[in-house]
Amino acid sequence: MNNRLNDADITRDLLRPLVETGRGFYVTVTLLVGLVLYAAAVWGYQLYRGLGVAGLNRPVHWGFYITTFVFYIGISHAGTLISAILRLCHAGWRHPVTRSAEAITVFALMVGAMHPLIDLGRAWKFYWVAPYPNERGLWPNFRSPLLWDFLAITTYLTGSILYLYIPMIPDLAIVRDKVTGWRKRLYGLLALGWQGTEQQWHRLEKAITLMAIIIIPVAVSVHTVVSFVFAMTIQPMWHSTIFGPLFVVGAIFSGIAALIVAMVVLRKVLHLEPYLQPRHFSNLGLLLLTMSLLWFYFTFAEYLTVWYGNLSEEMANFWYKLRGPFAPWFWGMVIMNCIIPVPLLAFRKTRTITGCFIASVSVLIGMWLERFVIVVGSLSRPRLEFAWGEYAPTWVEISLFVGSIAYFILLYVVFTKLFPIVSIWEFKEGWRGAERRALRQVPAVAQAE
């Protein structure tokens, strides 16, 4: 830990983004708002003209939108799940990481959950998936995995927002006591009258631990249920028992990658070098390496089983992906998810901040390709040969994809502007813990010498 830091420095540094606004912020926000408005206009065009403006067809009725939806739900595992696991394991290095990770979860879920609405075409009918009887008095069919998805995502989003908010209350109180005017009123409202008494701290830590325990199975259930949307059908190469674990592993994999990318950018832009140190990236890099190997093992197991089974309808799908028109996407996925990140992350020399960043960007691209291969690749080769078809995205889908990325970044940038992206109290807690450990080690070292 950096011994040059002190209480006042930490508070000042971590609150700086809230009180100082540079020109870069306005330029970034303007650019992002422009892209989001463009995407909104394109969505309006699709609503007006109908889903025909997208490249969706028979048999590929799910394309870019559902691919991107699954991708975002995957990266949403960055925060709440990783943060909860690190908290419960008392991982000392987690303190500067958790808040930025939890924010990724909330915004990825918000942006991801929009995609099924876009894919619906008639988005105003979205409430039909909610547990709500329609005009004929019929309740929705709980046997549909789409409804399970709705419930799982709603639960996870609610839990993630609260899991982000509850640990933020003490920091909101710090901001409340340091600002004036409308900001004081806003943060005062959000801080819920936090005083920082030992009783409140005790309850808060208890509540955070409880939330962490509750949220881990919810997070696992979310991506398992997302995988059920595919696995519960009898579509070749979807109807697989490994889909649940594969999706969860893939989600954590892409989630860690998203977190590393966000941390590298935050470190650079907000000058958080003393707080986000190389060891944080190295530890996350090791986690990413582990997930990369796990992902490869699961994917290999899935494809090996299909190949060994040699069922004709599955083999058509299998060869379509491995050496057919989908081969560039399939092998691109393997290269991006394994061939590039594993050597970069396996060696200490290359597991630097830059190395982790390159590996993470590669994984994010690779995991989007994985979703694309699963969704579009499998749909293109259904059971009966006469129904085979191809899919190519249109400018509408590409625009909305770019718009969704811009929207996600915009939400993150605005969040960073309004709230401390590194938890002040958690960082100080970790920092003091490290100091105490160092003090305890001094006599031992002296004795050894």
Partner: protein, 186 residues
């Protein structure tokens, strides 16, 4: 008339020493409160046995049970309302019912945790602080200081307690009661 003493400390060990002295001097632990911008639970500030007691886990479990019952009822009611002919299959399908029940159990536990945190930690109360001393103390806590508050039954005890706090290393001690008085500010 009861007075309250506010003492600011800039390092946790001084605050810990001060609280130990107060307890040794016979001040009731319920009359002592420590405010800080970070948790010092690991430093064993004497929060007192009663203050440590919480029913948060119990409420979370209760919330989970209520959520689970709601989820099961919702799914079961839906299946029964549909008048499906299922042959020999169960009318209330265990898989979907299980998923709906699981998700709503988690949702119930999450909301129960939040609500019980608000209730037990005394959050959500609107307190308008206009006293400039109180604002200054709050700002000092936001900067990283620890505020030790002690309630004393009379002014004589308050003065003795304030002296003890100063000796323990308080950088600022204030007595608030009938007439607020700033003792020192270093």
């Amino acid at each position: 008339m009861a007075d309250t003493i506010y003492a600011l400390f800039h390092d946790p060990s001084s605050a810990e020493r001060a609280v130990s002295r107060l307890l040794a001097a016979g001040v009731d632990s319920d009359s002592i409160a420590v405010r800080s911008s970070e948790p010092f639970l690991a430093w064993r500030l004497p929060a007192g046995g009663e203050k440590q007691k919480t029913r948060l886990p119990l409420y979370a479990v209760a919330g989970g049970v209520v959520g689970g019952l709601v989820g099961f009822s919702l799914a079961a009611f839906t299946f029964r309302t549909m008048n499906l002919t299922t042959g020999d299959m169960p009318l209330i399908a265990p898989g979907p019912t299980g998923i709906v029940t699981f998700e709503l159990t988690a949702l119930g536990a999450i909301f129960a945790t939040l609500l019980s945190l608000i209730a037990e930690a005394g959050l959500g109360r609107r307190e308008r602080v206009s006293d400039s001393d109180q604002i200054a103390l709050a700002q000092a806590v936001a900067e990283g200081a620890l505020l030790v508050c002690a309630r004393c039954p009379d002014e004589i005890t308050a003065r003795a307690t304030a002296q003890a706090l100063e000796d323990a290393g308080a950088t600022m001690v204030t007595i608030k009661g009938g007439s607020p008085q700033r003792l020192s500010h270093s």
